[in-house]
Amino acid sequence: MAEERRQKLCSVILPTESMKAMAESVGVGSLQEDSCLALSEEVSYRIKEIAQDALKFMHHGKRRKLTTGDIDHALKLKNVEPLYGFQSQEFIPFRFASGGGRELHFYEEKEVDLSDIINTPLPRVPLDVSLKAHWLSIDGVQPAIPENPPPVPKEQQKTDSTEPLKAVKPGQEEEGSIQTKGQGASSAEVKGSSAKMVPLKMRMKPRSTHELSVEQQLYYKEITEACVGSCEAKRAVCVCNKCYLFLFQVRVNVVQNNLALLIYLMRMVKALMDNPTLYLEKYLHELIPAVVTCIVSKQLCLRPDVDNHWALRDFAARLMAQSCKTFSTTTNNIQSRITKTFTKALLDDKTQWTTRYGCIAGLAELGHDVIKTLIIPRLSVEGARIKAVMDGPVVSNIDKIGADHVQSLLLKHCASVVAKTRPLPDMVDQYKVDYGYLGTMLCSHVVKARAQAAFQAQTVNRTTLTITQPRPTLSVSQSGLSTSSGSRAPSIIKVPSSLTLMSTRPGTPTQPSPPATKYIVMATSAGAASTQQVRSVLHIHRVHMIVHSKVISVPRILIATPGLISPNIKVFKYTFILQ
């Protein structure tokens, strides 16, 4: 402690070289070393003095950041003419250069062409100060409206879930604000505190049965309705209200074979995953079985021959891959466990085509390495199986469709991997030997993929990558969902006009605007990107957009019954099952 402090307090003095440099800049050629030393000490002292005064202005300006304005005011206090001509910018771009053992920070002054300034259109007039009111708390409970921050910060959720029994001494001093509150609550709990503390307690407590008030039940109903209902906007709000969703709905719906609901639920899972404020780790054990169910279930809809449950499987597979990427750690080992599950099902001869499709999709989404080690060796076996179905006389229509889908899925995923790993030339015969029944078709796909890649190489070089992709599954390139004819890499990034419209936010940024790079909407150059993909992206986009505009119907749900707005909706899941 003392060490640290001493380090902080050690008096820094400007180097004498700086004095020399400054003297030269005002025309004093040769400055004695002694004078330099004396000057530098004096200057350092004065600068510190001014900085200390400037801090006062910062404090009174109720800011955390010292601005050039503060320094101007401090200079004025000392009766020094403030610096003119410097705009008080948020950020002053000092540049750093070193060479010959000397380090230099300098402020780069660019030459500006006057005509450029004259010709540039005037910037938009900044918005005027305005006032907006919202409820920070209603009868002591903070409503979960967009104006308020998420009820519990992620770190807190993490500590709660990982160390639920962490012993805390009451009154023990700790930094985290919520933390202290939590302690307060828990210590109060021990003493059997008043009923009013309940909402706070519930937030902190490890799971246990809770009774739901009528309002909470109502709220739950509203949310589920919103989630599975037709109103997209409402769903977005609910999802972003951090309702911890309850995935046995999935189980229920699988039993009921309700495809539409399942799709909605999967999308909700996706929205949950994309929500940076949630700490989902706690709920993985609920989430993953549900998602896996949607991938590999034998039957997901009432009429498997007509309904497009394949899309659902694809989507769920992608979700799975995403969760593997985000949540897989050495301790929970999600990825390997999932892979094992899929492989086991795949190796089983009796597996249905639907399940088989799901397994392959699930594996394929996990990446090229998985495809290479687990799927490609199986190609000939699967090929034989497909052939049996296709050519065999006595098969049901369902099996045939299944086999067909599996075939195209295999081709789609394998082609790219093969194209990368297999050396040229692509001989059809050789392919047949290696991959059996599927060899011929694979060969043609590989050729196509190679051509595409070559074409891409030419164009991609020019469009410098302006995209950041925080969530790999969002991008078309890695989704593997692009149709076999479509291009594989994102070549042109454009925001569809409809989306642009939505992203213009109203002029009152109560909430931080979502970082623009985060939700880039992409379309493949071929324009033939799978609609599913775009839709899911769009969905995410809209989720965020809507929350930031204020067109939401929250007040209707929330304000009407202030008591129920407690942020601990997660408790519902333990007592409540949707019909």
Partner: protein, 756 residues
Amino acid sequence: MAAVQDGQMELDAEKETKPEILSDGTSNLSGNTASGTLSSSPLTAAPAGGAPKMEDQQTLIAVLQFLKRNKLTDSVEILRREAGLGEDQEDSQATDGSGGGKGDVDGGDANSLLSRVSITSAAAPQSVIIFHSIIFFYSYRFGKVGGADDQPDVSVVLSAYSQQGDPSLYQVYYSGLKNFIESVLDCHRAELSQLFYPLFVHMYLELVYNNHENEAKAFFEKFSGDQECYYQDDLRVLCGLTKKEHLKGNEVLLDFRTSRFVLRISRDSYQLLKRHLQERHNNQIWNIIQEHLYIDIFDGMPRSKSQIDSMSGSLAGEGKREVNKAKVFHGLLKEPEIEVPLDDEDDEAENEEGKPKKKKTKKDSLGSKSKKQDPNAPQQNRIPLPELKDSDKLDKIMYMKESTKRIRLGPENLPSICFYTFLNAYQGLTAVDFTDDSSLLAGGFADSTVRVWSVTPKKLRKVKSAADLNMIDKESDDVLERIMDEKTASESKILYGHSGPVYGVSFSPDRNYLLSSSEDGTVRLWSLLTFTCLVGYKGHNYPVWDTQFSPFGYYFVSGGHDRVARLWATDHYQPLRIFAGHLADVTCTRFHPNSNYVATGSTDRTIRLWDVLNGNCVRIFTGHKGPIHSLAFSPNGKFLASGSTDGRVLLWDIGHGLMIGELKGHTDTIYSLKFSRDGEILASGSMDNTVRLWNSMKAFDEVETDDFTATTGHIHLPDNSQELLLGTYHSKSTPVTHLHFTRRNLLLAAGAYNSQ
């Protein structure tokens, strides 16, 4: 009375340090003289320099008498020495020297002088200004002596520093003392450890003063790590200071030189220390203790480490015990009786609403409550207060009506919080205030503007122009409505006038005026009828950090970088009182609910309570470890809450002058504090984007203020912040700048959204 001395002495110091202010003060004075209103007073003429010798002397004697009457013996001594007056001379002159303006002033005692500060009296301005000019003159004299030739001054104050020992032995001395203190019994160690910091600073300064730069640096390096962490800010200043030349003009140093660091030590510990130093013949340290420290010795048990820590931290040590002994009338003033015709009107209004009689009984109970005189309440006319206007009475009735609908708050019943977020303020919001009836909101901005919003559907309207006003039928009942110009109705109005960031805003209780204080050194009074500036009050030459209207209007207080708080009346362009004594910037100023006292918080980490009547400092509260940025009186006037940059809220019992509670939880500067209307809940808003609610009732109830603690000033603070914390409400990246309880106990919060 010791406090008074203190205050005045430091006023001297103040003026010595800032000769600029002085010259300005005098120029103001001579300006007065020139303007003719006060030219008859020889007092003001004297400092202007043109007065004949005899008159000058008479003036001096007058001042001396005034000082004597107020028992400012030290100052009398100094003044007499400066002026070369003999005591007998003064006495002889005093008998016949009571003519002219000064005679008036001297003739009456302080009370009669003040009683002339009535609002209606035409003579009032003069007497006040005369009174005031005494202070000015007095300080001018000293300022001139000090300011004209700085060298002797420095040598006087630092005389102890010049009798230097061997610089190389300083480290030995200090570590010798350190070893001694570490080896004494535990019960004494905590107390004696208090010595470390002041000794360290003074020894370091001595080394610097005597040009032993290297020894000073080594000394600092070696021992700075041992100091308590709450002195770190000062240490940072100190470490930059390595040359004798720097000693001049450094504020922190001046504080150290001019004020003695106060330590409270039990007699046993003190004896122990004394014996040790005498045995070792450690004169160096002994000299410093005698010259620069004030050791407040008490009989009884030595204090524990935690007791000491809770009270220390201020720039100049703890307050002396006797400082907090003065009687403070912290009770509330009697509620004025509302006249009968208005009552009838009120009842009629009630009848229309279909609630007959109910109101009447309420009123009676309220009336009877106010009739019972609080023994701690000041005299009703101790400070002349403005008479109630009809509109004020109407407002009082509204207030009573609203208060019957007030929600009783408590730990079971927390208030709802409505947050007013300023959008697009671009980091510029610096101050906020609500009117008492919560209808208007004012914001001060870094771009020098003040903006006023109406938060009710009623829009803001200006008064019509003079020409249009002439056309109105002045006899009509709704004349007040008719004078307003509908064309100007808007939700917000901007007030332009300041030339620097606006750091404080305050509405007058009658909602007709708004005060704003700014970096440009002025306090401005704005009319909310015309939305124009009425007066610019000049006096602070440096940024004015805060200003606030008295709860009864008319008076207001301001405090700024010049380390003084000033009391003003709206119709005087000179301050009525100058509260000098803080050792650093006055950061916040608050009126006591009975308007007889003013509390100021400062960067020197102390809170002072000043008596408006005589300008005395009646309380010094130490214990904060950072600059104080918010203050709040409890509605009953008994308690004071203060918040500082260290993120702690401290609670004080004004009557006993004791710290009674510490509320920990915030992680950043607390910029606003407010008690609920009934005082059960304390709300605090901070830079850490939270509003916290505390159970103030419990905090106050749990205090046992027996006679023993009251006399010794030893406090045992229960560490129960967590139990007292009732709720924490996070905003989304919006620091809480202001809090306000509506008359029905809804909590309003305000702050600017910070987009980073």
